[in-house]
Symmetry: C2
Subunit: 349 residues, 2 copies
């Protein structure tokens, strides 16, 4: 068992391992990939050779022939030219929403040896970059989280025939798989709870209207309240950020001082609403009951927030699962998975 020098400088290759083991390249490849039967003693020899050479297969070479990369793009897509001066990436990554999605994706992909590549698409240029990235074969598919409904990226991906899975139903129907929450059902859960605890003057702070999920939560809530005999529900529009929840609550109370229950379309805004309520001396939940949505910032609120839980990690994992299925089988059928939310009762309602 002479350990020949690894022929030249640089990393050892299959060839080197084969030479050390005294077999052919093909056999080493078979052992590594566990394909076909290889005699146990030869397997043993190959493993020893791999250990002594410190061989690691070259990813580029492998993916050149297999046409698979073991990577997927995790794309956050939205409009960069928003109001704020802050760059898109700051706003995106600061959002706990992104963190939870990333967490779910990583949790699913990691045990499978797949790695997510972080990408941002906030302009025509960067959207094209995403498409090129995939067409280059840099990743096997894309997981897309859009910050608003009219995002053009999903359609680009579909047109290019690239495997992709969306977070949330796109505004215009296109043939693409996605995972979404039953927002209306979630809003109804909140309405039921508010009514059950005896609230008579109920209002809501909604998300931005250009986000389909926000529309669904609003209309779902209104309908459920109508079903309970409350056809009119005061509503103000927020932007899903804490400050807008605070401002919205102030506006609501100014116009309707007798409000005793509020459904806020996400926890971040609910956090703001809670601050406003406290500033105005309203007790929660005694004077005003508050229900949030997402269960993202709920435990750090004062009082802890009753909220509609969206199991983001599970949903993100499901996206990853669907994407791998699409990548493995081009004929895998377009699928949409709708997840049911649950009400988490804490102290605010």
């Amino acid at each position: 068992m002479s350990t020949d020098l690894p022929h030249t400088s640089g990393a050892p290759t299959l060839e080197d391992v084969a030479r050390v083991a005294g077999v052919s390249r093909a056999t080493v490849s078979r052992v590594i990939n566990g394909i076909r039967n290889v005699a146990p003693d030869i397997q043993e020899a190959v493993h020893r050779a791999i250990a002594t050479t410190g061989y690691v297969p070259n990813r580029a070479a492998r993916s050149l022939v297999t046409r698979r990369t073991g990577a997927v793009a995790l794309v956050v897509s939205g409009a960069g030219d928003a109001k704020g001066g802050e760059p898109f990436e700051s706003r995106v990554f600061a959002d706990p929403f992104f963190g939870r999605v990333a967490s779910g994706v990583v949790g699913y992909l990691r045990p499978r040896g797949i790695h997510p590549v972080l990408m941002l698409a906030d302009s025509a240029q960067t959207r094209d970059d995403v498409v090129s990235f995939l067409r280059q074969g840099s990743a096997d598919g894309a997981l897309v989280v859009s910050t608003h409904g009219e995002d053009p990226l999903p359609k680009l991906l579909v047109d290019a025939g690239l495997p992709a899975v969306l977070w949330a139903r796109p505004a215009r129907p296109i043939p693409i798989s996605y995972v979404d929450l039953a927002h209306r059902a979630g809003a109804a859960l909140a309405a039921d709870h508010l009514v059950a605890r005896g609230c008579r003057r109920v209002a809501t702070i909604s998300g931005p209207f250009d986000v389909p999920a926000a529309q669904d939560r609003l209309s779902g809530f209104q309908e459920a309240m109508a079903g309970h005999g409350h056809p009119y529900v005061p509503a103000v529009e927020g932007d899903f950020m804490p400050a807008s929840g605070e401002a919205g609550m102030h506006r609501l109370l100014k116009e309707h001082p007798d409000i005793d229950g509020v459904f806020v379309a996400n926890d971040l805004m609910a956090q703001g609403a809670l601050l406003a309520l406290r500033d105005l001396g309203r007790r929660v939940p005694e004077d005003v009951a508050v229900i949030g949505f997402d269960d993202s910032a709920a435990v750090t609120c004062r009082p802890p927030l009753t909220t509609v839980r969206q199991p983001m990690e599970d949903m993100a994992a499901e996206m990853a699962r669907l994407l791998l299925a699409h990548a493995a089988d081009p004929d895998f059928q377009v699928t949409s998975v709708i997840v049911q939310p649950t009400l988490v009762v804490r102290e605010s309602a």
Copy 2:
């Protein structure tokens, strides 16, 4: 100019473009990579051919020969077997700290066409995965953010001769580039401000002692206070999470009811401390002045938090810059960049 069919199915290759343009593969490659002179009319023809074929260079093939990938690993490294039952990825990505680092990294890398690959290293197995990933040539280097000082990953990377840059100075000195904050100077800023506004009974809530940055903030604060004639500063240890700030504040006030100023080692804990103070009826800053650290959650606090600002995005961008330098030139010297913090005065102190 007959547009031959792209020879078979599958993506068009350099060969196809060359045939359509009526030149050789080499020439097309030259045009694409802008290397050497190519006659203007031929360039033109090549560009037309690229457009008509819809050609995109194959990343794997390219990186097989160039030995560069255009990707870097963004690794969050720490211990998975922590107290909480939550998986490592949840804790990591929920932290606004990670979001800001990611934002800075992406901001720098994106214009340069480099993509970050998200990785987690929370066990011996996953640390090896990171090393293998890089040795496979899946990425050109690693950006490592460790959650505690004794992380073994940096040493593994150095020993393997892989380009890597760390967030924060490692606990044991190893020859690796890193970017860090002047924590002691930041803590001194807080001490000076507290003393200047007339606080006489000052305490601190520190971070976990196994994090070097936490130690530095604590000892830097103590030393600065000693310099102001306060040799003894009550201190309790937290874990950088909001709940521990709240608990710490309660403990501090129980043991030292006359406290009129607190330096909290990060904003998340300061947020908790603020809640505790409010629950106990202490006014901020009139009764107790509070200074946080990081400037991460400061504006959503009540009152808005005076804090020591750590320019995380800039620091992360600097990490990326150093990494690319190391990747481009193996002889690039090991460098440590220490960034100066600033005090941001808001309302809490």
